[in-house]
Amino acid sequence: MIGRASRSARHFADALEWGENGSDHRLVGTARTVTESAQAEPDDQFVFELRSALMAEASTVLVDDPSGANAADSTSDAGLTAAGQRRGRARRPLRVLVAAAIIAVIGGGTVITSSHAMPGDVLYPVKLRVESVQSEFHRSDLSLGDYRLDRADKRLNEVSGLTDQGAEPELIATTLRRFSAESSEGASLLFSAHEADSVEEPVKKVQKFAQISAEKLEEIRTSVPDGAFDAYRDAQATLDSLIGQISTVCADCDPETIDSLRSSVSDLADDDPADPQEPKPEQSAPNSVPGSTTSPDPSESRNRSGGTDSSSGSQDSTSPGRGNNTDSEHPKRSAKSPSDQESSKPSGLLDPVTGIVESLLG
């Protein structure tokens, strides 16, 4: 019986593969019907806007990786590659000038206006892109980490505003996830700066940020709608993770202060509705991927965030928890010497600007 079922399955697969018509002809027709009936396509505008947003984000998320580049070159046509590189270098100064001019003339007013935009506003994506471009001006881990925490704080203030307005839960959740992502990445940079320079200042910044953020999360706790509570819990878990790292790396930090902070952050999750982290029964992929929350380890699930712009996408491929991930978030950045970082900045500094202008030019 098992053998016959297996044979039928194989014949069916072959019929699909090779177009054979056999005893499973009817099922092949059903499969084709399904394929031909599934006509849904994303809107062109959505595809375009998402691409633009990804390109803007890529300028801050992707780190130039020479080893990756070499690997790429090994699979690419060397002639085309070299020609393209020369062309790119030659055009860059002109593109930068054009970018600067267009942003100054056309985009200036929009950028200024967008600075007060809230999530859901038309100009909010512009605000995020401007922030992304600004982040490129921060050259050191300390400076950039500080800036990312500032961005996280802005997101939290926006969450507060959104809850006051009774905004859609999804909007609140998305903004909370952005807060988590910025917090995690900013802290990661500051911890890297701490390791590189053996000074406590970066850690103190993270500690202060965690303290302020915990207070703000406490203020909005009762206002967060159910639909955004997972994201709220992720934000709480993010802070919890940061505090754990602070206690590990900060020799000068007062243990009692840290314990108090940890306690206050833990309290944020006390009243949340019971929502056991049920494993997804259908989840069985062996490779951990972003978006997965199926880990049997509760701490892993807790430390993941689950939505738009979440940093979890960069956290779950290799590391079991946020605490470990923050160390590996920017491996190249932390591995570089300060001089390497300086030398790698100029081209990366200007690429986002050119990207925006290219987007504007269509």
Partner: protein, 237 residues
């Protein structure tokens, strides 16, 4: 990102694969699967011998993934162009709402962007990897209680039942019927159908995304389509 623009010249040199409405979606998802497995033909029975264009596509996807891993934003953008339709369809026929499908598609690619530099080919296929991200996000979405099972048929081009149950081969069924039929399957069969016949992943890609062997996927797709045929027949009566 010093070599951002130029290094994807190889990719630009090859015609991009796109799947747009009204055209076969064969280029959207299955083209890269030969990287990870031998079974790469679309389920509609197109010829098995690999065409030059398919080989170019595989080369192109491989190059783009490697460039993106190296920090090339535009390479990631081209990967996005290649896969966005398939990922959207996979999500859309799971959640039944264009708005939610767009949100989850955004989440999928945002997460992929943030993790692409740690993507490794070993045992993986990029399309399957993206699909697994999407699948997990859909699961999270349903778990969060935000799921809406109603199907927004007004947002879709309507298709109609053509043919009879006697002929057993219908050219098209309506989108709401398709949505209901697919989601009436067990979770594993449903995801298999979504990946194989709606997103048009290969057996190898589906196996990678579901963490199963190719043999298991072949059995799963057989049972799934058999059940699907019964459901569609009953609905059509």
């Amino acid at each position: 990102m010093a070599a951002r623009g130029p290094r994807y010249a190889i990719a630009l040199a090859v015609t991009p694969a796109q799947s747009k409405t009204g055209q076969p979606k064969s280029g959207a998802a299955h083209t890269a699967d030969t990287v990870s497995g031998p079974s790469h033909s679309p389920p509609s029975g197109r010829s098995a011998p690999r065409k030059p264009a398919e080989i170019s596509d595989v080369t192109r996807i491989t190059a783009l993934v490697d460039l993106a891993r190296g920090g090339d934003a535009e390479a990631f953008g081209q990967l996005y162009d290649h896969y966005v339709s398939g990922i959207f369809r996979f999500i859309y026929y799971r959640v039944g709402s264009r708005q939610i499908a767009e949100d989850l598609t955004s989440d999928t690619f945002t997460r992929a962007l943030r993790a692409v530099q740690r993507f490794t080919w070993q045992g993986r296929d990029f399309g399957a990897w993206l699909t697994t991200i999407a699948r997990n996000l859909v699961a999270d979405h349903h778990k969060s209680g935000r799921s809406r099972l109603e199907f927004a048929t007004d947002q879709l081009p309507e298709s109609h039942v053509v043919g009879t149950t006697e002929s057993a081969v219908m050219s098209q069924i309506s989108n709401d019927m398709l949505f209901e039929a697919v989601n009436a399957l067990s979770a594993e069969q449903r995801d298999c159908v979504l990946m194989r016949f709606i997103q048009e992943l290969s057996v190898a890609q589906t196996a990678a995304a579901l963490g199963r062997s190719e043999g298991a996927i072949k059995q799963l797709q057989f049972r799934a389509v058999r059940n699907l045929a019964n459901i569609i027949d009953q609905d059509a009566l």
